[in-house]
């Protein structure tokens, strides 16, 4: 049946697919992962702080984000971010944020909910005695977080964080609903314009599989390397 396939469509569009599409996807993934981990760590710390209110706020945020299909979240942010921006900087009309910034904000905020759960598990996996030992040596809360708890939590969780980043990489494909040119968006635009859906989707599957599979192999090797000897 492959005889009927017209893979020429891929040759004609590979620059668009990779230079525009894949570049967008990878940049978005990398920035959203970094932003998500930082924000997620702060949320996790909020959630674990024994302070009043803060843990509840963090919990509501995480549960809210995790209960919505990503497609809906992408949709809402795309339309509401201009108004939020207007409100924040007090501009006269909704600000123009553009597809990239809008999706970056969306994915950072959305993935932060998932990363925060990972970092929370990471922080909780450090024996209580470590925090006690740090305090007993006279380190303050922030010093012991920065020098003792977070470095360990981060190293313990690095494989999980990276695995979640691979999920994020796949999730970014959903920006196609906004007609944004990520890799899958580019592929589906060409596919629809030229009526070559099957070829393009097969190709996309192969590309995604190759990248994710290699990445997860690397994660597994890394897992052995970074593991703290205990």
């Amino acid at each position: 049946m492959f005889s009927n396939f017209d893979f020429g469509v891929i040759l004609n569009s590979w620059r668009y697919l990779f230079l525009d599409g894949m570049t967008f996807t990878l940049t978005l993934t990398a920035l959203a992962a970094v932003g998500g981990v930082i924000l997620g760590t702060l949320i996790a710390m909020m959630r674990l702080s024994g302070l009043p209110v803060l843990p509840q706020i963090a919990k509501v945020y995480v549960n809210f984000m995790r209960s919505l299909p990503l497609v809906l979240v992408i949709f809402w942010f795309y339309f509401l971010v201009p108004y939020i921006g207007q409100w924040i900087i007090g501009a006269e009309r909704p600000i123009q944020v553009g597809a990239f910034s809008s999706s970056l904000i969306t994915f950072t905020l959305f993935e932060a909910a998932y990363f925060s759960e990972i970092m929370r598990a990471g922080i909780q996996s450090i024996p209580k005695g470590q925090a006690a030992a740090a305090s007993a040596l006279g380190l303050t809360y922030w010093q012991s977080m920065a020098n003792v708890i977070l470095p360990q939590a981060f190293r313990n969780m690095l494989p999980v964080l990276l695995t979640q980043t691979i999920v994020l990489f796949q999730d970014t494909s959903l920006v196609y609903v906004l007609s944004i040119t990520d890799f899958l968006g580019a592929a589906s635009k060409i596919a629809q314009r030229d009526g070559r859906l099957v070829e393009m989707y097969l190709f996309a599957a192969v590309v995604y599989f190759t990248i994710c599979f290699i990445a997860s192999l690397l994660v597994r090797r890394l897992q052995r390397r970074v593991a703290i000897i205990r």
């Binding site: 209960s67 299909p69 497609v71 949709f75 809402w76 989707y201 995604y208 994710c212």
Partner: protein, 239 residues
């Protein structure tokens, strides 16, 4: 914003002639729930088997389990949906392909199978993690008492592992529920698809998506509540 709000839209007749827009969303909700439940049965069954395979001493069993997980979790669900629906019938022998295409409710069956297989790879990860989180001694204690490997899994390892992974399994179930929305790409008339159709017919975009958002949050709360009840039910005293 230059937008004409009309919250009464839900009670206007939908152009499909099958009732109001609200009816349309409710029917979408029912498909969402049905698809999620059926896909979960598939995912839980296959996921448990694959998860167990990955913890067996046999190298071959581990390889099979790993291959399954790597294959199904490294391709975006959206693309998998498409492949199952459009490509699979073409690569099968012709008579099978035709049979598949003629199947009534094909989008539903395809969505259940595709989502089930995809979620199974994630359930398998959890099951494996759960079993490996048990002290190694548990397996040994079962074996030392003379239980066979199957009996050890059935009576000792799995009951414990499932209890440990109940919270992550709940999140996987919620993901599974949300992921049914991806099946709109193959024409399943679930909630998100209905919200989209509603906004395209009426142009009341925000009302349609607000309704979908609220419904998803409500089902989520329900699922979380039920999971909490189950968690308390199966909790082991003294732990």
């Amino acid at each position: 914003m230059n937008y004409n709000w009309n919250w009464g839209i839900f009670f206007e007749a939908s152009p499909e002639g099958t009732g109001t827009y609200a009816d349309m969303l409710v029917s979408g909700l029912l498909w969402t729930i049905l698809t999620a439940l059926c896909a979960w049965v598939v995912a839980f069954t296959i996921g448990s088997v694959v998860g167990v395979l990955r913890t067996l001493p046999s190298r071959a069993a581990q390889a099979v389990g790993n291959a399954y997980v790597e294959l199904f979790r490294n391709i975006p669900l959206l693309v998998q949906m498409f492949l199952w629906y459009f490509v699979l019938p073409e690569v099968l022998p012709e008579s099978w392909g035709t049979w598949l295409k003629q199947l009534p409710n094909a989008p539903f069956y395809t969505a259940v199978v595709c989502l089930g297989f995809f979620t199974a790879s994630r359930v398998a990860e959890q099951v494996r993690a759960g079993i490996q989180a048990l002290p190694r001694g548990q397996r040994m204690a079962g074996t030392a008492l003379g239980l066979t490997t199957a009996q050890t899994y059935r009576y000792v390892l799995l009951p414990n592992a499932y209890r440990i992974i109940l919270p992550p399994l709940t999140s996987e179930f919620l993901n599974n529920l949300k992921n049914t929305s991806v099946a709109l790409t193959i024409g399943l008339l679930e909630l998100t698809a209905r919200a989209r159709a509603m906004q395209e017919f009426s142009f009341q975009v925000f009302e349609a998506f607000t309704a979908a958002t609220v419904i998803y949050i409500v089902i989520n709360l329900l699922v979380v509540t039920v999971a909490g009840v189950i968690e308390r039910r199966v909790a082991v005293p003294g732990r």
